[in-house]
Symmetry: D2
Amino acid sequence: MFKKDLAALTPPMGWNSWDSYGASVNEKQLLENAKVMRDQLLPFGYEYVVCDIQWSEPTADSTEYHPFARLTMDTYGRLLPAYNRFPSGFQEIAETIHNMGLKFGIHIMRGIPRQAVYSDFPIKGTRYTAREIVLPFRECRWNTDMYALNPAHPGAQAYYDSIFELYSEWGVDYIKADDILRTDYDPNNSYAARADIEMIRSAIDKTGREMVLSLSPGPAKTDSAWHLSKHANMWRITDDLWDEWPLVHNMFDRMEAWQAYVKPGCWPDADMLPLGTLRMWKGGIPSNLSKDEQITLMSLWCIFRAPLMMGGELTRLDAFTKSILTNREILSLTKSEHAARQVERTDAYAVWTNLDTEGNPVAALFNTSDRLIRISVPFADITESPVLSLTDLWTGDDIPFAENAISFEIRPHASRVVRLKG
Amino acid sequence: MFKKDLAALTPPMGWNSWDSYGASVNEKQLLENAKVMRDQLLPFGYEYVVCDIQWSEPTADSTEYHPFARLTMDTYGRLLPAYNRFPSGFQEIAETIHNMGLKFGIHIMRGIPRQAVYSDFPIKGTRYTAREIVLPFRECRWNTDMYALNPAHPGAQAYYDSIFELYSEWGVDYIKADDILRTDYDPNNSYAARADIEMIRSAIDKTGREMVLSLSPGPAKTDSAWHLSKHANMWRITDDLWDEWPLVHNMFDRMEAWQAYVKPGCWPDADMLPLGTLRMWKGGIPSNLSKDEQITLMSLWCIFRAPLMMGGELTRLDAFTKSILTNREILSLTKSEHAARQVERTDAYAVWTNLDTEGNPVAALFNTSDRLIRISVPFADITESPVLSLTDLWTGDDIPFAENAISFEIRPHASRVVRLKG
Amino acid sequence: MFKKDLAALTPPMGWNSWDSYGASVNEKQLLENAKVMRDQLLPFGYEYVVCDIQWSEPTADSTEYHPFARLTMDTYGRLLPAYNRFPSGFQEIAETIHNMGLKFGIHIMRGIPRQAVYSDFPIKGTRYTAREIVLPFRECRWNTDMYALNPAHPGAQAYYDSIFELYSEWGVDYIKADDILRTDYDPNNSYAARADIEMIRSAIDKTGREMVLSLSPGPAKTDSAWHLSKHANMWRITDDLWDEWPLVHNMFDRMEAWQAYVKPGCWPDADMLPLGTLRMWKGGIPSNLSKDEQITLMSLWCIFRAPLMMGGELTRLDAFTKSILTNREILSLTKSEHAARQVERTDAYAVWTNLDTEGNPVAALFNTSDRLIRISVPFADITESPVLSLTDLWTGDDIPFAENAISFEIRPHASRVVRLKG
Amino acid sequence: MFKKDLAALTPPMGWNSWDSYGASVNEKQLLENAKVMRDQLLPFGYEYVVCDIQWSEPTADSTEYHPFARLTMDTYGRLLPAYNRFPSGFQEIAETIHNMGLKFGIHIMRGIPRQAVYSDFPIKGTRYTAREIVLPFRECRWNTDMYALNPAHPGAQAYYDSIFELYSEWGVDYIKADDILRTDYDPNNSYAARADIEMIRSAIDKTGREMVLSLSPGPAKTDSAWHLSKHANMWRITDDLWDEWPLVHNMFDRMEAWQAYVKPGCWPDADMLPLGTLRMWKGGIPSNLSKDEQITLMSLWCIFRAPLMMGGELTRLDAFTKSILTNREILSLTKSEHAARQVERTDAYAVWTNLDTEGNPVAALFNTSDRLIRISVPFADITESPVLSLTDLWTGDDIPFAENAISFEIRPHASRVVRLKG
């Protein structure tokens, strides 16, 4: 067990502001969501409250970034929360959240603010200035906030150290580092920010504080799995996931590819759960996924043991959404001591299995096709032991069976999760 | 444990004719190598004698293929060994090899012979003919023997069934299926022969005979690992490996990427061992790898638990080569019950670890750079238990140590393998 | 003036069987179309009757090719017309067509028939056989008839010489050579059959017979223009053109790029005219282009001076189609002594100009947008001389004008062609 | 004739500071080169003195750019010459150069200075500011000075208008616009700054001043030829040309592709002449091209009618270099009224022809191979008239000939230029 793994022994669970607020969340919204989490979701394991991108941009008002906007920062080029949006500052906000029994996370971008470079601010604790420690032409290609650091220059590590020193003082428990896992500036290498990942790992370790390190955006490449497992706790295995079936469907491919890399401290990340009420900048839009699709999503995430970061606005949490977020049997799959295994995959369906926390085999059957089909899985594909009973994990109901197989007619995009007992 | 995994519970070991004879090996050469294997290598676990590509081509005389050459086949379009090169036929050759206590393997190509298509031969056991079951424009791009089969046509499976029926009759124990793992005909999909892999798996299963299924050429993509693990026993994780250091060096990348997929029945394959005397069509050329590089290669293959298929001509086996092929302590690493783990990797060196068959941690330190360097690994990176002794696994010597670390000066391209005991 | 240019001093005009019959035209259909051409189109300059692809395939029945079909050929591997489809043979058919005052063209493919390779036929006039003169892996990627020749082998030129000797004996006047202008086998070089073009040029020159050499498929690259101009008379500047507006629209791009290369003997080719009744294998389908679009097509082809090869079935020629194929004023533009020049091009429209055969400037205005717009062109953009009258070239009507400009409201996809006189 | 073409009726000739001074030329160096040009080269037609990149960067000291350097600019974000390098300013420098009978050119980059954006300067004559008129992610990928303008915003044209107003006041005669012809920000479109070219054309036209517009860097694509011909006077058909034979050799490909586009006002540009003494920042290095290669370069540039912009330091002009820059017969080829034509091209040699100013055919024979070869060209490939005499254009010597062909043994990389008379 690596020390960094201690920060995330099971898949992290919580809420992230992006799906509801894009780049524009503010203190009030953050804390209101935290309160709902404390009251309704904390008993089920949800604990992280994560403030996503551009908290230092005073004029942010949607998911669109304002090119070359002026960011709030200190004279060491370290971004600060915009005063108008987060009047209490992150230190006080973190304390408030901690006092609820929750944990606090923030989003950061690879690099150093462009404005810090044009202002040529000093790097804290060094004799370097911002202009000296950047490398041109390696900056983010979808947001104009930052320039890239030069890993060969000692000031680069020093800059990362200086910001994590601050985050540690604030009491941050979770870092979503962005523009770092899949980068676009080198068309021949999408994992070109490898050195930035190492510098951030090192900066976290120096603080002595336990922080979950989550990397974005995806998809990550499986060839990078060793390096990712060594330095991070979560890494996105997909581009942004939204509430559209083709994106959920695509996750069967991604999880097939990443199943061998799920273990304590290392959680391939299928992105936030686009459930409940989303896109508050448009007034709040209900998730476009059908109920069957939402249950499929939760079943897949849980048996795979993906992080569970809710994306929908918690103050609008409806009964159905709450029920699928808080099914104790399904959630307990994420606490398994084993990585799940895909048993079968065709154009029409997928079958996964894992052992539950008591060592009983569980099977999940997914109809990924657009028509009603029967999916049958011989017991022998799941377990070598005799099977005496089957239980539906979502409902707790016993399932009668005739032959030595699990067999269901399943609606399009729907799924079944079954526990096998001897 | 899948049934297909039973054919290869540990990494397969043996000899393959390619590095010594290219496309032109004959019966006499094959059996002479078998005899040396029986006498000198079988006691150490080497058992497969594999006849590589183009055994049905009567005029083959080197590693160069003759475009559009006439191949020997039966009237069902099933390739037969060329009479002039293998006068006894493969059934009798297999029997001879079996009588030595060894196993027999052959190379095949995806598809059906082009000549069978032009002659429009019938497919055994069906009412179809060869022309009906092929798909144009998907054939191999580096050898002209075969056309591609149409997986949507039932005659395609029937053709594969017919050839494996023959191989089973012959007594074949090992199939090296080529032009199937990395294909070139679709520039957007190098794993486009997925359906052929499934058909071959199915054809083997129908025979009831245990055969190792080895797929070529590489490099395989890690995103295909689940499918490969389900259907094959070995798959090449590299393009052809020859006796040049850059190719060996590259294997550190490949093994880093594939370390999570090593398990009984599933052996990511780093290609044949280009050791001893190679390229007999040029009179026999000694391996171009230095002794240090050869030991590094064997150390890496063994701790990773890669298949060990000797490439050099066994009748010319020299003492040094024999010594590195038959070091019992090093070879025993391949019998570990665990997958190895890369501990560290830099531009200059790599460190791997695994547990030996008795559960003791073993560490392998590789200097991948071109200069003498010191490599140090804290014991804590290898094991959580206290360490009381260190043994050099190649020599059996005790290694004195001062601090809580393994630390060696290591020559360029050289390596050390060490057992830690508590 | 190069000798090869004498074969096509103005843009070739005629009929090609592809748009109506795909790969399956037969003698009767060919001659019936020839008769209509003689009676109705020859007076306007249409003279070539071209038999398109796969005339040697006895079972061809649509535009779909039959993979690995048996082709009719002589014992030198030279394709012959399938007896069942062309019972008179091409020599007699050519004579019949010549007797009508028309000219005869055929389609060929780069290379030598695959069957000639498998049968290893001798190459006429040499001591070589087919298998010796081919290069593997360079064959066509969309039709299975041929293998590629090895330009470094003297037998390759000899094979081309042997087929053109035959075509000359038959009385062929026009060769549409296919799979030669844009090839697909080398992803880094779509002009990889350059040597085949040179061999065919040389083979034609040796016959002493004047033959138009037309190269397909497109799009050609403008960087190859010098080589094309030196060796061919026509070369496709587009992929297949069918009766869909986006394909016609795209031709404005292609003609913009190729306008500098139009001259006697050298005719960038915008493909056949998909007008009238097309796709006889589906019973005959009227062109899907609107009347405005058809007039736009003819206006553009004629002012650009593209070859005019009718694609529609001539026995079903309707009055409208005939009228736009035979407007003498519009057709006379193709006889200009100058290359046309694009005057203006925006997202919404294009303007072209050329001098007519008497030296008067002509302007063509094309509305390429999907809405009614006004297009205005100052006289000064067309001519430096004063303009006293404007004539509509399609109708012969005088056009009143107020200011020093041509200005029309033009419907979507429609056009106007105007002669300016001083 | 377009108005823009009047600025360059024959290929522009002059001197550019890049090959000698990179980004660091100063007033003194510029004027010293101007004086040599006036005294020694002006009589042969050389007239432009062009100050290349980064004249507004006070700390520039070589060909390396300083990332994010502070540039000298006015409060409208218009770059000004750095005071320390050009103390007199460009208006006074232009006047000095004009007084020598010469013309003055400057280099500019696509876009607006990044600092102008961070300072959010107003755009002259508008109510917009710099931050409003830029588009992110489209900036130059090899120099950090500028951001890209948003062509859809009216302020973009206004900004270009404002800088050309300044250049007109200064008396600039020649603009080398860079990062505009081949752009790197869109991997699918290297001609993505098309709108910037149009805006600059429009800005020049508004000044009413005649300025040569030269576009960089190359290679341009021939598919853009129409657009380039309409808006610019010169465009680079190659990446930077330096004093290495492979780069000169490559120009035969480029000129083959561009020969159809040479006409008054439109000069495909093969880059500066890397002759004489280059790279003054390294103390001044003599051209690495052999004498034969230099003569080949001048022969090719002149018969093709490429712009002749000397790159070497003129104050160090040696006798040989001066002699090849000032051969009147060779230079007169650039004044031909016709575009040159490539006659033949093989792996070993190239032959070009054009008519001289009196209508006599001239042929240039180039040995592009690495060995001595004989090149023979039938008179008939050059002219249809009888040939009575041959003159060597470089020496003026008569050349005896036996058969109806030009035929020379030519050294590797050498060439011959010959006038044919009847």
